[in-house]
């Protein structure tokens, strides 16, 4: 007798995005299956100075957090602006996608996305310089993410060189 009215009850904030991890061991179908049942979120656009405490505080608002893994620069082993948040339940993660994604943490709009599950090694940035790929190529100046992008900072002459 009961009908679910799919036309109406969209839940678009919970849908998986277009991003697929290129290092994922398995095919697209496997990855998507894991994403659709995952309790783990990737969180991006963090400040390098955002701590585990802050991440825990905000993400606990949508459910009990099982663990947080702060993303690290592969070379320096310091925070490089992303993390994983794993919940005990899928509902906690879904509510984070609905209500925390796109809001601010440490004054920055953060972005959450489904993750197929943490595996050792995935806590490291995959950019050539050790941080995240996005910090390799960006042109803007972001003091909370090391200043200029890696490529841009190499081409940028320093103040000292310009003075006589």
């Amino acid at each position: 007798m009961s009908v679910k009215l799919n036309a109406l009850f969209s839940d678009s904030y919970v849908d998986i995005s277009q991003y697929r991890d290129q290092h994922f061991k398995g095919n697209r179908y496997d990855q998507e299956k894991l994403l659709k049942q995952s309790n783990t979120l990737y969180v991006g656009n963090l400040s390098f100075y955002t701590t585990e405490d802050q991440v825990h505080e905000i993400f606990s608002k949508s459910g009990d957090v099982k663990r947080i893994i702060i993303g690290l620069d592969k070379v320096k082993k310091t925070a490089c602006g992303f993390c994983f948040v794993e919940y005990y339940t899928r509902t906690g993660a879904e509510n984070a996608m609905r209500f925390i994604n796109g809001t601010r943490l440490d004054d920055r709009i953060i972005r959450t996305d489904w993750d197929a599950g943490f595996k050792e090694g995935r806590q490291y940035g995959r950019g050539k310089s050790g941080g995240q790929v996005r910090d390799e190529y960006r042109q803007d100046y972001d003091p909370a993410r090391g200043g200029y992008g890696k490529l841009a900072s190499q081409h940028r002459p320093t103040e000292a060189q310009n003075t006589f």
Binding site: V3, N6, A7, S10, Y29, I68, T103
Partner: protein, 753 residues
Amino acid sequence: MSRRRHSDSENEGGQAHKRRRTSEPIEIEDRLESLICRVGEKSTSSLESNLEGLAGVLEADLPNYKNKILRILCAVARLLPEKLTVYTTLVGLLNARNYNFGGEFVEAMIRQLKETLKNNLYNEAVYLVRFLSDLVNCHVIAAPSMVAMFENFVSVTQEEDVPQVRSDWFVYVVLSCLPWVGKELYEKKDVEMDRLLSQIEGYLKRRVKTHVPMLQVWTAEKPHPQEEYLDCLWAQIQKLKKDRWQERHILRPYIAFDSVLCEALQHNLPPFTPPGHMPDAQYPMPRVVFRMFDYTDAPEGPVMPGSHSVERFVIEENLHCIIKTHWRERKTCAAQLLSYPGKNKIPLNYHIVELAQATEMLYMRLDTMNSSCVDRLINWFSHHLSNFQFRWSWDDWSDCLTMDLEKPKPKFVKEVLEKSMRLSYHQRIVDIVPPTFSALIPAEPIFSYKYEDESASSLPGYPASVTVGNAIKNRASNEEILTILKEVPNPNQEDDDDEGESFNPLKVDVFLQTLLHLAAKSFSHSFSALGKFHEILKALTESDEGKLHILKVVYDVWRNHPQMIAVLVDKMIRTQIVDCAAVANWLFSQDMAHEFTRLFIWEILHSTIRKMDKHVQKIQQELEEAKDKLEKQHGDDEDMDKNSEDEEGQLEEQIERLQEKVESAQSEQKNLFLVIFQRFIMLLTEHLVRCETGSVDITTPWYKNCVGRLQQVFLMHHVTIQQYMGTLENLLFTAELDPHILAVYQQFCALQL
């Protein structure tokens, strides 16, 4: 790269092909759903012409898709209450074109109503009855048969030995339909309706309202009375009746179709007997109407309807429905709220909420606000600030600086700053508040190490702390560390006492202080430390004293970082280093008395209760699954061979073990509540006795806070607590208890009586 793409497209192609083969009927059904659910949305033509068009389309589809259309319409009646009159109009139009369909729809609705009542879905049932009543306005249902249904509902008030919440619900349903259909019913059956209303009035007069104080947000009657929901609705209906049922707010598309609809033949509702009371029925709990604004708060623009005007009821219902329907999609929800039809006639922003003004008003009324609401305000406001660079006109609240810090206002500001710090960092908070607020700024969240340096060398545990610290740093084994700890002197034991190991608090202190100090860098470091040395920690906390002491040490070292305390306690419960009862005892202990009114204490307590709850539910689920499996096996094998006999034997053993596990978990859960309530009673009784002997007023800030917290435990965990009411009443909440404390218990009981 190309290889991967090829295999991907193979997979995707395969699936799409499969999908396409079975999609056609589904596509049409989806289209019908979409047409019906979205009628009138994003259209340049009027709602009326959209409805007319849709009625034509559906009439044409009836021969092939009648059942689907019936199901969709029943679903929108149940799930889209804010568009009630849109869909009743649609049904009216269909009934005018096809009398049989109208009859089948009414029958389907009655079936659905019975189902929802059977399944305790009382809120949805209200929407269904309201839908049926509005169908009277659309000439689908004959008014006398609707009145008869209402009469049957109200006769529930004559039942004996049923919970008040049962008869409450039936009265509520009837009253809540009257804004929609009161006029029509009075025109056709005024004598019967008068009788009905007078019966309701009699019932409302004899209703017991013990529950109200527990549910009120504020304990003061000014500026807005916190009315019990049925009383408020009754007053609104009375006023509506006095205004001769003139109701101007509800959108009624059927009026435009009056000439068509009045030609239609009506159906009679079959006689509907309300299902009898079942012991496991869960009727909705009573509510208190939350009012914050009145017409004086919205100075410009349209006037806000008064609190006893029926418009207020209708608007609030509709706004609630919008939020309930669209909560998953925050942008859509906001858009729907802001585009509320009829918004030009009301100060919509004040009905939803005018944020800054609301915050200001709530702050001003903190003194009489109940604890749960203050907590929510703290959490909401700090979260809100963190999205707006913590900008606030703090000086507006400088009145809190001259008060005793235990009063609600300075307490509120202190907790807000603490939560704000968790979302940022200490220096940020120092920077955002005026220097006058420095007394309210939280402490810097740093570790307090007892054995920090040589100045601590006179402490009895100092030498061991150095040895243990080095051992940990050099990755010594657990055995080696335990050996070191054996040498730690026991302050509780006489030197020549050979009676055996009594609990040695210094051992716990030395080991845990040192370990947590080494791991203080982050949550993850500390969790890792707890995991690595789990064996040692379990050994140290075998006794209840041990468990209590470990919690004391955690507090001792992290007293400036309550967030860390909370996550460590959580971890220790989950890894069974401490149990829930130990945490409860620790929170209520004398050592923690000075922190008793701080928010983090209650967050830890409620989190602990929730963990216990989830634990019990998990085992119960395992038991249910095993039972289902066994039943399935019985059904499956006709001839039992040896293998399946063995399997069944194993399953039965497993079920027995799980049964024991469930009972043991429930016993632990009951014990947890006994500990908590007993501690509350002890603390409150002490206070009351002390005040009585000293002839002092009992209502100190501490007392109000404590009573509020007791109420909060009942309200937040009412489902679980209700299972143990018998024990609670026999052991704790007896007639000998001080009436002030017993009153809280009685208010709670009144919520489901």
